[in-house]
């Protein structure tokens, strides 16, 4: 028998996985480094947030929830910094952003 918290947690985690899928699809399908990094960072951060939220709801303990929040914030910071550094390096090396061919 699943409680309400279990179901809510599972729904949140599945929603998070969908965002990861979308981000990975973007990484594989988008045309250049800037758009790929944009898709990956944005979608994965949201996906991880949803998974952490789901795990926090399922754990039912405030301490675990706060730890998961800390994990999410640290990953957000690291991902944003990493993505920005990669994009800056690409820009400095003269990789031009993709534009639709007219």
């Amino acid at each position: 028998m699943m409680g309400a918290a279990d179901i809510a947690g599972a729904v949140l985690a599945v929603a998070g996985v969908l965002f990861f899928l979308a981000g990975t699809l973007g990484l594989l399908r988008f045309p250049d480094i800037y758009t790929r990094i944009h898709a990956l960072t944005k979608a994965d951060n949201l996906g991880l947030g949803l998974i952490c939220l789901g795990a926090a709801v399922q754990s039912g303990s405030l301490m675990t929830a706060l730890k998961l929040l800390l994990v999410w914030i640290l990953v957000l910071l690291a991902a944003a910094t990493g993505a920005s550094l990669i994009a800056q390096t690409a820009h400095r090396r003269g990789i031009r952003p993709w534009a639709r061919q007219e």
């Binding site: 640290l74 910071l77 690291a78 910094t81 920005s84 550094l85 800056q88 400095r92």
Partner: protein, 312 residues
């Protein structure tokens, strides 16, 4: 969960294959780091969080940084160009060697399978739990690493120190200079994170006595903080006094360990056989000095050779 374990196991094999067979070195390093991360997950699934921590911190994180810094030192053409395969893929010699390795692999797998069947199922876990109160710590892994089998750990730290000595004897490297990066992003980020790194490192060290943690993961986190600081262009000037202390910090883990062992021997207990009332304090002392040394040694390996005192 069986499906998850199966996928995990298959992915591990695929990643090992990729990191060995991929033709460019950059791709091989990426595969190797992904392998390390998944291996950490596998250790979690095997309920060995201590090994998972060490694998994630050292096996994936620090080894990855080491491999990347090696790639950065190779000439550009060697690092990014496909490695030209020298294998001739036909002829009797090729088939003989291929056959030899396949037969050997199959025989070894069969021997491994039989030794698995022979394994005594309870293992040494029960005995360990029984003797745990004598060890001075509450975490069984730390009890094995620093009390019951502490000789192995002495040797591990000695091997790491030997690696640093060999790296230094290969020649000198220019000490990284203080520099301002074009963007303030990385230095700002590192400034924000360094206190967290130190906190996590100390916490892992302290927790080692009763929960997963200990000197190796703690030292790895310490080294990671140092490497990030270097990447952000933050270093100190080196001078003879700095080198003097650096040598002591590199060696202090092994020195304290061996000194403790020999003093116990002189006191009549035997090498690294702790008397019960002293065990907890001795383990803490050894863990702290080993953690600091391991951090310094991993970072020294990242920098490469002996820092050139005249370069600064």
């Amino acid at each position: 969960m069986a499906v998850f374990d199966l996928i995990l196991g298959l992915l591990l094999v695929v990643l090992v294959w990729k990191s060995l067979s991929v033709s460019d070195l950059f791709g091989a390093v990426i595969s190797f780091m992904a392998f390390g991360l998944l291996m950490a997950v596998a250790w979690v699934r095997l309920e060995a969080p201590d090994i998972a921590l060490a694998e994630a911190a050292i096996g994936s994180g620090l080894t990855g940084a080491l491999l990347f810094s090696t790639l950065g030192r190779l000439p550009h053409s060697e690092a990014r160009q496909p490695v030209v395969s020298r294998t001739v893929r036909n002829g009797p010699g090729y088939w003989m060697t291929t056959g030899f390795w396949w037969v050997l692999a199959i025989l070894l797998s069969i021997a491994f399978l039989f030794s698995l069947l022979d394994l005594q199922t309870p293992g040494l876990g029960g005995l360990l739990q029984e003797r745990l109160p004598e060890s001075g710590v509450l975490n069984p892994v730390t009890a094995v690493l620093l009390n019951f089998r502490s000789l192995d750990t002495v040797m591990e730290i000695a091997v790491l120190l030997l690696a640093v000595v060999v790296a230094w004897s290969m020649g000198t490297v220019v000490w990284p200079v203080k520099r301002t990066l074009p963007s303030p992003l990385l230095p700002g980020f590192v400034r924000l994170l360094t206190p967290f790194f130190l906190l996590v490192s100390f916490s892992l060290l302290w927790r080692g006595s009763h929960a997963p943690g200990g000197a190796f993961p703690s030292g790895a986190v310490l080294a990671a903080a140092g490497i990030l600081l270097l990447l952000a262009g933050k270093t100190t000037r080196i001078c003879p006094r700095f080198m003097f202390w650096l040598r002591w910090i590199l060696a202090v883990g092994l020195l304290v360990f061996v000194f403790a062992g020999v003093s116990l021997m002189v006191a009549g207990y035997g090498f690294l056989v702790y008397p019960e009332q002293w065990a907890g304090a001795l383990i803490l002392l050894i863990e702290v000095s080993a953690g600091v040394s391991i951090g310094a040694m991993l970072m020294a390996l990242y920098i490469g050779g002996e820092p050139d005192i005249h370069s600064a």
